[in-house]
């Protein structure tokens, strides 16, 4: 635990690369945290500054080009004392972020762990390239990675994780350290989790509802993003065709005396109108990214639900096992055979056991029952703990989601209004030119 790595200071969100919307968001997030828990951000600024291309050999010993991202950190106290030292920095590539996240997923299964931005560009409209090397994509990924780190740093539990801290501060040897924790062995197999999901009898109702909700959210947000991309495509077409007016008005003005000037200027406005769509759609991509983050969050929600099902299932299995052992003991004591067992059948067929044999068996069973009761108690505690801690985090997540998405929707509405205002401006200007013809 690294809770005491520096003097307590007032929190500063030092990253100027965030948009004002994200800044507000982070302020709000941090506000909540300060009231209740300590937050890593109280102690240090974190930012993902740049991206660079590197070449190297990959796992199958082939040359590859990959992108690395610069992570910069600076203790908060350094700034407030009036001196602004250069931040510490190191480079990380996307796969290392993935490793960090996987480690956190396994180590804190009750936490809804923030998702990473897309590895590959999906759900794009035609103008935007699906190429991972495209500078716009890389830039949006940089923003996404920074957002990821800030979400972790704000989280009351995750922010104290040592591996996370070292990810931010020490470039070399971090990977080895992660593997050394042995987290991979602790990971539940997908198969095991699936099995539990099918066979669990009494999962907590809230988790069932949550799973259902996350499925719905995933479906609806995917659909939304797909249709939005198509709408963007069409909008692009409408704006760009108006550029043709620019050209023809210019040509036409050449053969006119009176109308020439008016037509020429109007043509310029049409060109400006056509060109304006590029910025408009770039801004909308930011909105799409905000939605995408929550689309990917649904996977984290489902992971927590799966973990609950698994612990609940294991508890049920342990209880079932205990019940069966108790049953067997009872039968042995009373001599009745209610449950089917091979031993029982064989003893029926081949004769009764001796008193000593029975006594020995009884002792084994009693031992097993004792162990079983311990196991059930343990599993019960585990399950209760899990449900308790998970639900706190889920409530926290819900509040965050409501805040973030409400703001995203309002920003989106603002974007639409801004686009319309620009439209009114351009056409009003064009109209003035026409009036002067």
């Amino acid at each position: 635990m690294m809770a005491d790595s520096g003097p307590e200071e007032i929190a500063v969100i030092g990253n100027t690369d965030l948009t004002s919307a994200e800044l507000e968001n982070n302020i709000k997030n941090t506000m909540v945290e300060i009231e209740k828990w300590t937050s890593l951000l109280r102690k240090m600024e974190i930012s993902v500054g740049e991206a660079e291309k590197r070449t190297g050999k990959n796992t199958v010993n082939m040359q590859e080009i990959y992108t690395v991202y610069l992570i910069e950190t600076r203790p908060v106290d350094a700034v407030t004392e009036g001196i602004i030292p250069a931040p510490d920095s190191l480079w990380r590539r996307y796969s290392e972020f993935e490793l960090l996240r996987n480690y956190l997923l396994v180590t804190y299964p009750f936490v809804v762990v923030a998702p990473l931005p897309e590895k590959r560009a999906e759900i794009v409209w035609h103008k935007l390239s699906a190429d991972n090397m495209d500078p716009d994509f890389v830039e949006r990924r940089r923003v996404g990675l920074e957002n990821f780190l800030l979400r972790l740093a704000c989280h009351p539990v995750l922010c104290n994780d040592k591996i996370f801290y070292i990810f931010l501060t020490e470039e070399k040897g971090w990977k080895e350290m992660v593997y050394e924790t042995g987290f991979q062995a602790k990971a539940d197999s997908r198969l095991k989790a699936m099995n539990a999901a099918f066979r669990v009898k009494n999962p907590d109702k809230r988790f069932t509802e949550l799973k259902h909700y996350s499925d719905e959210l995933q479906t609806v947000v995917s659909q939304l993003l797909r249709v939005r991309a198509r709408v963007a495509d069409r909008l692009y077409g409408v704006y760009k065709v108006h550029g043709n007016y620019g050209r023809v008005f210019s040509e036409w003005s050449a053969i006119e005396k009176e109308m020439g000037d008016g037509l020429q200027s109007a043509g310029h406005h049409m060109d400006a109108y056509a060109a304006s769509v590029d910025d408009i759609l770039e801004e909308e991509e930011h909105y799409a990214d905000q939605l995408k983050e929550y689309l990917f969050y649904t996977e984290a929600l489902r992971a927590v639900c799966r973990k609950h099902e698994l612990t609940q299932f294991e508890l049920e299995m342990a209880a079932q096992d205990l019940a069966s052992k108790k049953q067997q003991k009872e039968e042995l004591v009373t001599g009745t055979v209610r449950t089917f067992s091979l031993k029982g059948m064989t003893s029926k067929l081949f004769g009764q056991e001796t008193a000593e044999q029975r006594e020995a068996k009884l002792q084994v069973l009693e031992q097993q029952i004792e162990e079983g009761e311990e196991a059930v108690k343990e599993k019960n505690t585990e399950s209760d703990e899990f449900v308790k801690t998970a639900w706190i985090d889920i409530e926290h997540f819900k509040d965050q989601k409501d805040r973030d998405l409400k703001e995203a929707l309002i920003s989106y509405a603002i974007m639409q209004i801004s686009r319309c205002k620009k439209g009114i401006q351009v056409w009003t200007n064009a109209k003035e030119c026409f009036n002067k013809m």
């Binding site: 500063v12 302020i27 947000v221 069409r234 409408v238 409400k406 929707l409 109209k431």
Partner: protein
Amino acid sequence: MSACTPKSLASSGQKPIQEMCHPLGAEEAVLTPSPDVRNITSSIGEKDQILPNGTPVETSSPSSSSSLLNRLQLDDDLDGETRDLFVTVDDPKKHVSTMETYITYRVVTKTTRVEFDLPEYTVRRRYQDFDWLRTKLEDSQPTHLIPPLPEKFVMKGVVDRFSEEFVETRRKALDKFLKRVADHPVLSFNEHLNSFLSAKDLNKRQGLALLSKMGESVKYVTGGYKLRGRPVEFSAMGDYLDMFTQKLGTIDRIAQRIIKEQSEYLAELKEYGPVYTTWAASEAELQGPLEGVASCMANCSIALDELTQDMSGDFLPVLREYVLYIESMKAVLKKRDNVQAEYEAKLEAAALRKEERPTVPTDVEKCQDRVECFNADLKSDWDQWQNNKTQDFRQLLTGMADHNIQYYEKVTAGDYWLMLSYVHLIQVVVQGAKGSVSY
């Protein structure tokens, strides 16, 4: 002719032009969102538009908007001369008889001219009658440019001759035709126009008119004379018309393409809004904003649909009609060429026979007169045509700009509603955040 005192337009009980609210101005005043919240909420979603001073603007119905536009046009056309002949084509009605079904239009004339017996006339005419008028004008004024009529034939299966849209488009074109004729310094005094505007029943004598048309056109078109020296100014006119036709064709194609792209955008938009509604169903806190965005999208769809309709209805037909106008003009230029060619040929023939007759024969003189008249008429018509063209296109293009402005204003009005509902929430949170965090 009965002596009648010239009466002003106000006798009809309508407001004089100056007091009429500029139709475009009125709409702008309503749709721009004002800083006062109450005004916005009262005017959004209401079909009836209220002017800032509280009087209602006539809701756009075909007859009222056209009459407003008519008055607007008259305003523009005042060249300092006192106009004394006003015509309007409106009120289309369907007539069903055993023989056929057809549409008639009401033609209203107001005039102070002495050539007319009464100051006001109201008659009903059908397309055939307009066609007759045009033919008579062409025959009796061959040296002048006669404005074009809308297309005569429509493919029966493809276009519905009785649909509101088609009838309205045609009515506007017929109105324009008659106004252009009434504006013409020579054509407006034509006796056939007088009959058309005033007679109870047009005694058309269709058959004779057809024959005479044939006769005249044969004379001018199949002259078979070769033109030697066309004056530069008329060549320039021909060149200009060719280039202008080309540009109009391009603009038509662009406008059609925009309408197509907008339709496709609309189709996607119609799918987009409902997804937000679906999402809202599984949310609590977010339900409000999500429903808000959904309704904004719906609002946008409606506005976009209206824009597309307006452009199809107002913009494209006028553009196409101008192409017809250019064809008419080209035909007149050709006629002029033929008249000149005929004159040149006769002059040459006369020069060869000079020995026989010392004086220039009278028919050659007549030809020369004809050429000079034609050239003079054509030049003055050309100037007027150019003038009208500038006004017409100014009106057309500002109309296009207005439609787009209205579209964006409608969408903004919808979004403002969402914003007003939720923006105060952000302000509250930001205040709170700013208060406790120092930079």
